[in-house]
Subunit: 337 residues, 2 copies
């Protein structure tokens, strides 16, 4: 569509190294869960590595069967690439397969990998690197409809809420596309812009590129970032909000969380404060912006108390309130038109 | 102070090329106006070039007299470096003088200039390139006091208001430092961070670096960027505001302007809206934030109507209201304690 968004080539081979801990293989698992139709296989360097229930596949088989991209599906503390991975990644690149990662170490900073890619014609795609030709936002109204997930904090389900909304909306007959604004989301969607890596002047312009003009009845379901009340990341949330021109938003929250994670001197804003501030700021570019529901990550709530907790929030704010991983999102989708 | 801010080496030689139009030599004129004590000379490539009333100086004389930096004081449409400048810039770099510019073309992308700097030991400093080791904002309270200039729009006097405040506060016995957040401001101050060029995640962290801990009675006068109601740049304004932890702010406005410049489909926010939104957002990191006054660029107001216009705004908002270039800023400084 737009040259300004990253585009990954499917089908995918998910690379898991020898990572056995599910927490560190979230990206690979996320891709397999949300885009199974794009995943042709997995490549594990040991039998102990996590099994995503995809066919195990060598680089040779992958190359012969037309794999488009090898996606590094594990995150590493420190973010560098272990020496033990290099032969495999180089073989794949030399076979013309694109290598996709979002680690701190840039793929193109590794000489042997750069050489292999040059030989085979595969690309090295770092999903942390945004396009370089982003514009400043115009603020001009675009056609189509947009839903943005926002949050009381980081890391509480904005991406998965958006993905579940996409899945449920498609099942309900909506035309809907998840729009990824972060690196894991981009690897899942196969496209997107890493908004938090964009140069400050272009945040809202990148958000405009991320959900371009579309059919009047089409919904873009945009992955939110940060929180409008976050002392570190609020600027990113602000820029994404006004560039998205959201018609509706869903507030994502983690049940039981009381403070900004990692910023313990900042109390969590209330859901009501987030709703009010999101409408105040978002109305600059879309005067009709409204909240369509609340999405709660209830992992820290006892199973027996979950429904009462959600019901209480729903009454308090007069909005549907779901844990999307438990209840699905149809109660929220009923609010869309 | 901090490794994270740019630092220019004085004394300066202001390079004007053959630019005869004052509009395009604003940077050079700004440095000569606001930091005369740092300017040892000017270098003009023709007699028609603008005269800043500094001693004309050749590269040879500059090198012999210990000039620290040659600062390119002209802005060019397109932002590239004319071939006719290169010999002079290379001679200066080869003589060990730092070359400082904020053009679209990066100085270090020009091979002959890179070679000359390597030979002479001078640095090539592009004030559009922020430091690479910026942190995410902590939101932790810093000692000292801070004033931020904010605006109803871009390009209406936030930098000059801050500089005039610094000048008047120093004259009134305050300890005060202008803190530059944009490229021209950085060239004037000799230090600063180009906030709009920072990667999104680090905007507020850069703002924290820009006005570090200081003496309890010291004032940092921080150059604002954009406008909190700007469809393109609001995210930058938001990040700078919360990272600055401003105790007070001054709203800058251009008399007669009715729409966001370059975004004519967006009406200008009122001064009252900017005050309210700035307090709402700024109170996240400084609950005591307050507005200390209004600074109006009255260039488009007839001289005979200026004082009545300012008086009317002052009554409307219950705040001192000045054109800093006409009235100075002492009415605003009276509000500080």
């Amino acid at each position: 569509m737009h040259t300004q968004t990253l585009q990954l080539r499917s089908p995918y081979l998910i690379f898991l190294g020898d990572e056995s801990r599910a927490t560190y293989a979230k990206t690979g698992k996320g891709i397999a869960d949300w885009r199974p139709e794009l995943c042709a296989g997995q490549l594990r360097l040991s039998d102990e590595a996590l099994d995503l229930n995809l066919p195990d596949m060598s680089v040779r088989v992958a190359a012969d069967s037309g794999i488009g991209s090898l996606i590094v599906g594990t995150a590493l503390v420190g973010g560098s690439i272990p020496d033990g991975w290099l032969d495999t990644l180089c073989d794949a690149a030399a076979a013309g397969i694109d290598i996709v990662a979002g680690l701190h170490t840039r793929l193109d900073s590794i000489a042997v990998l750069r050489d292999a890619a040059a030989t085979g014609g595969g690309k090295l795609i770092d999903v942390r690197i945004p396009p370089t030709d982003l514009p400043v936002a115009s603020g001009k109204k675009r056609s189509g409809k947009r839903l943005l997930t926002v949050g009381t904090d980081c890391a509480l389900g904005k991406k998965y809420t958006a993905l579940q909304l996409e899945r449920d909306m498609r099942a309900a007959g909506f035309s809907a596309d998840f729009r990824a604004s972060g690196q894991t989301g981009i690897m899942i969607a196969g496209t997107g812009i890493p908004i938090d890596c964009v140069v400050a002047d272009f945040i809202s312009g990148a958000a405009e590129m991320l959900s371009p003009d579309n059919n009047p009845q089409h919904w873009d379901i945009i992955e939110g970032q940060g929180s409008i009340y976050h002392p570190g990341y609020a600027a990113v949330s602000h820029g994404l909000l006004i560039g998205s021109q959201a018609d509706v938003f869903v507030v994502c929250h983690a049940g039981g969380r009381t403070h900004i994670e990692g910023w313990e001197h900042y109390p969590l804003p209330s859901i009501g404060e987030v709703i009010e501030r999101t409408i105040a700021i978002g109305s600059l570019t879309n005067p009709n912006i409204r909240c369509a529901g609340i999405s709660v990550n209830t992992l820290s709530i006892a199973a027996g108390e979950r429904e009462a907790y959600l019901a209480q929030l729903s009454v308090k704010y007069g909005l549907p309130c779901v844990d999307p991983m438990v209840n699905g999102t149809s109660a929220i989708i009923d609010q869309l038109s």
